[in-house]
Structures are given as structure tokens and as C-alpha cells.
């Protein structure tokens, strides 16, 4: 592996059925059972399934009703997002001990660039094994790590390192989980063989529709697609998709690992302890979150061009709506006004379980576009109001900095009901 030193610098760390694993850790009596985390109603959806459940064909995004038909003994557990967030923070803390150059993808995945970590922590493989062991020892959870030259191969690598599952030849039929390698290293001289051991659908970016179109052209394997060549792929699929497919089948991926501190999104969200149907309650939360995200963005000297509102319904479906106005919002009130505008376009009749306000599409405060003021906008009175609003925000930020958040708030913001969790999230995409 020494010859590859300095080449295999991308790690993909992926937690093994994360939500379920956290539930099993908190309730060891679930170990070895087919377990799914998801909404336990008619409209519920599986968010994560244990390997035992997967043996019965249960998988994420499947409706829980169907999942129960697949596996009569399936134990369905309502999600505890606050716990997942907490474990996610622990995970990021472990990664951060190795390098700040990592890019969290969701609760349970991260790409890590270890180019700068070799002197302290050894080869890429040694770093991967260290992380794998630390996650096991400190979190009591298991993960899989792929080590490769780029994100595409690293991701395929972590998948190859996962546990596998088989059904015993019953009766009674039982799921047998085989532990995986934990760490897979894709040396450059194994890349070809490794890549070609996958089907086309295993490549991220080739979905069912693209795969179907490729099949119609007689392209059934990665080797077929390599053979047909870039020119013909582009002729069939257009410049964008065609060249993307050609890159994928050659194991080419130029995306870099975005450091976590280059936050692409600053957000605050909360999971309620019951479904919320009351628009006033949601508005009050939005107002509060808007103050908080604008404070965090301005503390970093950032101005966001995009405000988005994130909502998770009780059945776990997640929707997100965004608005990018000409002039970026500069105060909590302006963020709130945009977010409330988005709320108007979201149905809340189904009951809202999670609510979040996020800022993204950042530019430096110095280079951000401004808002052309109008001579007529509400006359002189309004021209006074805007700077005042901003001064109020500035004062509030200063108080929050000195006395902690929540020290001072709008009287109308004292929520009628406390949220059970509140997560401040900064994440790259």
C-alpha cells in the first residue's frame, strides 16, 4: 500500500443502519430482532431497518404497512431524532480529532479528506481503522469505512465493508447477519477489478430510469458502458448525463471534500414532542429560529441569499421550501418574513413534527448584493423602522453573546409549549 501513499486520501464513513443501531443501543433487548424505525401509522414510512429486517426485504422508504406484510414480527419504533442528533455530534467529534477536513452528508455519513492527517495518524488505512474502532468503543455503534482515491470509490468501498445478511434454510427461517470487513481499501491497482464487480445501479447517479434506458441500448454492465465510449453515451444521453455516466463507469470523480467549516447551510430546527397543527405556534417558532440563524450567520460575517423552511410531517415525510429574494435578508425579521411566506405554501393539516429554518447560498457580508431602497416605501416612517429593527437585532445578539441565548426575547416569542429538542445545525451539502 505504500506506493499509494498520498493518493488514497478520501474516506467515506457510513454508520451501519444508524437509527436502528441507536435504538438497539438504548434498548439492548431489541438486539437480533427485525427492527425498523419509522412512523407506526397507516401512512408511516420506514426510515431505517435492521439487517435482520432487511433479510425480509424491508428497506428504507418502504411504507410500514408493506414492511409489516413482508415481516410479521417486525418491531416498529418511533424515531428519536434528538438522540440521533446527539450521536451525530459525538461522531463528528471523533472525526474532528483526526482532521477538520470532513464533509458530513447526513446524520450518519461523512466524507473525510485525510491528506493532512498522515503525519499524526499514519496511512489512510490506519486512520480508517482508528475511526472504525473509536466509533465502536466510544459510541457503541458500528460503521463502515471506504478508503479510496475519490468520493465515488470511497463510497462504494464503505458499502463493500458493510455487514451482509442471509436467510437460514428454515424452518424457522432466521436472518443470519455476517459481519463485514468494516474497512475496505480500494488500492489504485484494484480499482478496475473492484469497480467492475458492481452492477450499473450500484453507481450513485445511475437511477432506475437511467439504468432502464441503458438496458434498452444493450448496456447491462459497467464494462458495456466503458466499451460503448463517451461519444456515444453523450449522443444518447446528452452532454451532461452522458459524460457523467462515462466518468462513473471509469471511476472518475472530481468532487472535492468540502470542509465542514465552509458551512453551506446554517439552520436551526426542532422536533416537537407531539404533532403541531397550530399555525401560531409554528409562526412563533419560525420567528425565534430566524433570530437565531441570522445571529449565527452574521457572527461568521456571512449573508445568506436563500432562506429555506424545512418541515417533517408525523409520517416522516420531509419537505423543504426555499426562497432566494433579490436582496438577501439582513435581519431576523426579514428572515422570518421570508420563512413565514414559505409556511403559507405548506400544508399543516397533517400535523408537523419537525420544523427548521435554514440559511444557505452564502456570500461574504462585504460582497453581498444590497436592496435598492425606494423613495416611496411607506414614506419616512418606514425608512426609520428598518435600521431600528437592525439595531434591535444587534443588541439582542450582544445580549445573547454575553448572557446566553434565550436571555432576551420578544414577549410574543415565549412559546406556549416547549420543544423537546432544538438542534443547531451547520452542514455542507
Amino acid at each position: 500500500m505504500a506506493k499509494d501513499e498520498g493518493k488514497l486520501d478520501v474516506l467515506h464513513l457510513d454508520m451501519d443502519c444508524f437509527f436502528v443501531a441507536v435504538e438497539v443501543k438504548d434498548d439492548p433487548s431489541l438486539a437480533g430482532l427485525p427492527v425498523a424505525v419509522g412512523g407506526n401509522t397507516d401512512r408511516g414510512v420506514v426510515a431505517s431497518a435492521s439487517y435482520e429486517a432487511r433479510a425480509f426485504g424491508v428497506h428504507a422508504a418502504m411504507s410500514t404497512a408493506v414492511a409489516k406484510r413482508q415481516c410479521a414480527d417486525l418491531v416498529i419504533i418511533s424515531p428519536h431524532f434528538e438522540r440521533y442528533t446527539q450521536m451525530n455530534r459525538e461522531l463528528l467529534r471523533i472525526i474532528e480529532q483526526v482532521t477538520p477536513d470532513y464533509e458530513p452528508i447526513a446524520f450518519d455519513e461523512a466524507f473525510i479528506d485525510v491528506a493532512g492527517a498522515h503525519r499524526l495518524f499514519g496511512t489512510s488505512e490506519e486512520i480508517a481503522r482508528r475511526l472504525h474502532a473509536q466509533v465502536h468503543d466510544e459510541l457503541g455503534l458500528s460503521c463502515s469505512v471506504g478508503v479510496a482515491r475519490n468520493k465515488l470509490l470511497a463510497k462504494l468501498g464503505s458499502k463493500a465493508a458493510k455487514p451482509t445478511v442471509q436467510m437460514s434454510q428454515g424452518p424457522p427461517r432466521r436472518a443470519l447477519v455476517m459481519p463485514g470487513e468494516g474497512v475496505t481499501v480500494i488500492d489504485t491497482d484494484r480499482e478496475y477489478q473492484f469497480l467492475h464487480s458492481h452492477g450499473l445501479r450500484a453507481l450513485p447517479g445511475i437511477g432506475p430510469k437511467t439504468a432502464e434506458r441503458m438496458r434498452a441500448l444493450g448496456l447491462n454492465t459497467i464494462a458495456d458502458a466503458v466499451e460503448v465510449g463517451r461519444a456515444r453515451l453523450i449522443a444518447h444521453f446528452g452532454a451532461s448525463l452522458g459524460s457523467q455516466i462515462d466518468d462513473l463507469v471509469h471511476g472518475i470523480d472530481h468532487r472535492r471534500v468540502h470542509r465542514s467549516r465552509e458551512a453551506r447551510s446554517i439552520g436551526t430546527e426542532t422536533t416537537f414532542d407531539r404533532d403541531i397543527f397550530d399555525p401560531d405556534h409554528l409562526r412563533s417558532q419560525i420567528f425565534q429560529f430566524s433570530q437565531r440563524v441570522i445571529a449565527r450567520a452574521s457572527a461568521q460575517g456571512l449573508v445568506a441569499r436563500t432562506v429555506s423552511l424545512k418541515v417533517r410531517y408525523s409520517d416522516l415525510t420531509l419537505i423543504s421550501r426555499a426562497n432566494t429574494p433579490d436582496a438577501p435578508p439582513r435581519s431576523g425579521e426579514e428572515v422570518a418574513r421570508l420563512a413565514l411566506g414559505l409556511l403559507d405554501h405548506i400544508s399543516i393539516e397533517r400535523g408537523i413534527r419537525l420544523l427548521g429554518v435554514h440559511l444557505s447560498n452564502f456570500v461574504g457580508a462585504e460582497t453581498a448584493p444590497g436592496e435598492q431602497l425606494s423613495l416611496f416605501d411607506g414614506g419616512e416612517a418606514d425608512q426609520e423602522e428598518t435600521p431600528q429593527t437592525r439595531r434591535l437585532d444587534a443588541a439582542r445578539m450582544e445580549i445573547a453573546r454575553r448572557f446566553g441565548e434565550g436571555a432576551l426575547d420578544h414577549a410574543s416569542l415565549v412559546a406556549p409549549q416547549r420543544a423537546i429538542s432544538r438542534n443547531d445545525i451547520e452542514r455542507p451539502h
Binding site: 433579490d326 436582496a327 439582513r330 456570500v363 461574504g364 457580508a365 462585504e366 460582497t367 453581498a368 448584493p369 444590497g370 436592496e371 435598492q372 431602497l373 425606494s374 423613495l375 416611496f376 414614506g379 425608512q383 428598518t386 435600521p387 437592525r390
Partner: protein, 372 residues
Amino acid sequence: MKFRTERDNLLDALITTSRAASARGSLGGAPSLQLSLHGNTLDLTGSDPDLVIESSIEVAGANNGSILLPARLIVDIVRSLSAGAITFDGGSEEMAITSGKAEFKVRVPVGAEITRIAPLPSEGITLPAKRFAEGLRQVVRAALTDDARAPQLTGVLMAATESGIRLVATDSYRLAFCDLEGISALAQGSEVLIPARALGEIERLISASNEEDQTILFRHSEFDAVFEVGNVKLTTRLLKGNFPDYQRLLPPSYPNNIEISRDELGAAVKRVRLMVRDSKDATTPVRINFSGAGAELRVLTPENGSAAEMVEGTYEGEDITVAFNPNYLLQGIEAVQSDTLTIELIDSAKPATLRSTGDANYQYLLMPVRVS
């Protein structure tokens, strides 16, 4: 109808009148020009529902008559011909145009018609053309160009003052007004709201002319206004609706002001504006720090980088930074006539005023871009 004329003589009149024959609020068919011959006088008329431009030229007439021809095509044909004689010969359906060995037969467009205008009062007022045009140059560009938001802002207010007339235009981001002293075009206290587009044409006509002492004859009714300049007569619909109470917007006083070279400031704005590649992106401002040293301009963009330039000037007031749309700012600078201009400021969220130093007859109010 049959006549003969020189190409250049005809082309000017065709171009002038065709500027009113736009597709705006189209009358049904393709925009058309009407040609009418009486003896040796050819009357050309271009029109849309809001604007009519008529021009008369002398030609060698043979048979009187009148015809509507497609405006764009007829201009293109005449423009393409070599200098020299052109003969028009046709009836009410088709017109033959011959010049040298070239021959065109142009049909009357389907559905072509021109706008009829009710007669206007005959007594008019005479305006000095060059001074009026200079006033228009300073004011017209501040009007709104599309009328989706507020039709009355697409007009220029012409109001009688005690000592003359005042022209005012605003698109809500800036407001320009100009006092033409000693000109009484209107009854005391009265005002009319004239579409900026029509006044733009007047300004163009006068600027194109070399005549120094040219005059404009101005008449108006409740609905229309007529401007007659040389052999051109322009009739426009007046705009309805109330022009904003702009006097309320004029700040009573300014705590800060700078005297600065118009040309140096204009050149500097043009240079730093180069960093704003997308001309539609009106929100990338030029930030100007006003201090004892003068005005320091900065443009910062996330994509292209930054530009900065210091322009010396005489500043009185506290150090402040105000951001402006560079295009709006430049139009204000260019509208000022004198070599030195004065910019008066309150703060980064209130209107600033540009004017000639020592002269309050022209003022250009500009709202800043808020950047913090």
C-alpha cells in the same frame, strides 16, 4: 398616388415617423406608416395608440392619394437604396417603389390602420427648443420604462411654477426635477403628465437638429398634447393618474455634502462598474466612503473580485459610507451640466441629492442601496 423624391429627403422622415409605429398596443396589423400626397406635399404618419408622429416633406408630386405601408419594410427598402431619385407609384392596394434598376411592389398590410386624434385647441405656447431638450435630457431618464408597476411613473410631470415650468420624473428609486425659468408653457398652477417615451422622441428630434434658435409649439387638451418642431408634429396621449407628491420626498436639509469634479467622478464610477458584469443585477452597488479626503468608491463582487478608486473632493460632514446602484448614480452624474457637482447626503438609508454646485435648478434625488 405617384411622386418622385430624393432618397435622403424621404429616409429621414420615414425613420422619424416610424418610431411611433411600434408594435406596442398594436392596432391589429403590422405597424404601418401612412403616406398621403397633396400636390407636392407628402405627409407621413406613424402611430400607435399612444403616440402619433407626423412629418411633411416636399416631393415632386404627380397624382394625389393615400396609402398605408408596413413601417419596418418601407424603412428598410428606402435605406437600402443608393442615394438618388426614388419613384413611388401605386393605388390603394399596392405601391411600386423604383430606384435605378431596383423595383419593389409592396402590399398594404392586412388590418393596417392609424390612430385618429381628436382636434386640439389651436392656441399654443412657444418653447425654446434647445433649453427644453436639455431639461428633458436631465429628467426623462429617471422615469419608469415599463408601466407594469405604476403607469403614472412612466410620465414626466410638467408643472407651472411661479417663474416658469418644472419637469419632474421618478421611477421610485430616483427622482429628477428641472426648473426652466422664464418659460410659461402652462396656465399658472396647472400641470400635465406626459409619457416619457414621447418626450424622449422630442429630445431626439431637437438634438438631431443643428438649428440654434429652433422653437417648439406646444398645445394640449385634457387628453392629448402636441409638440410641433420644424416639419414634425408629435401628438401623445396624456397619462392619467396622480403623480406622487414628490415635494414631500425632498429632504429639508442635509448634514453632509461634497463638491467634486463631475468628469472625474463619472469616469471613476464607469471604471469600478466594470466589475458588475451582469447589467441586470442592479443590486451590486458601488459603495462610496465620503470623508475629508473625498469619495472612495468600491465595488465588491463574489464572482469577479473588486475595484476601488479614490476621487478627491471637498467634503463637509461626518465620515459615512453610502451604497448606490452604479447605473442610477452615473445617470445622475451625467445629467448635471456644470464641471463641479455637489452631492448632499443624510445617511446610508436616506435619499442623496446630486446637482450642479451653486445651482438648485436641477436636482437628482437617489435612494441608496441598503447593504448592512
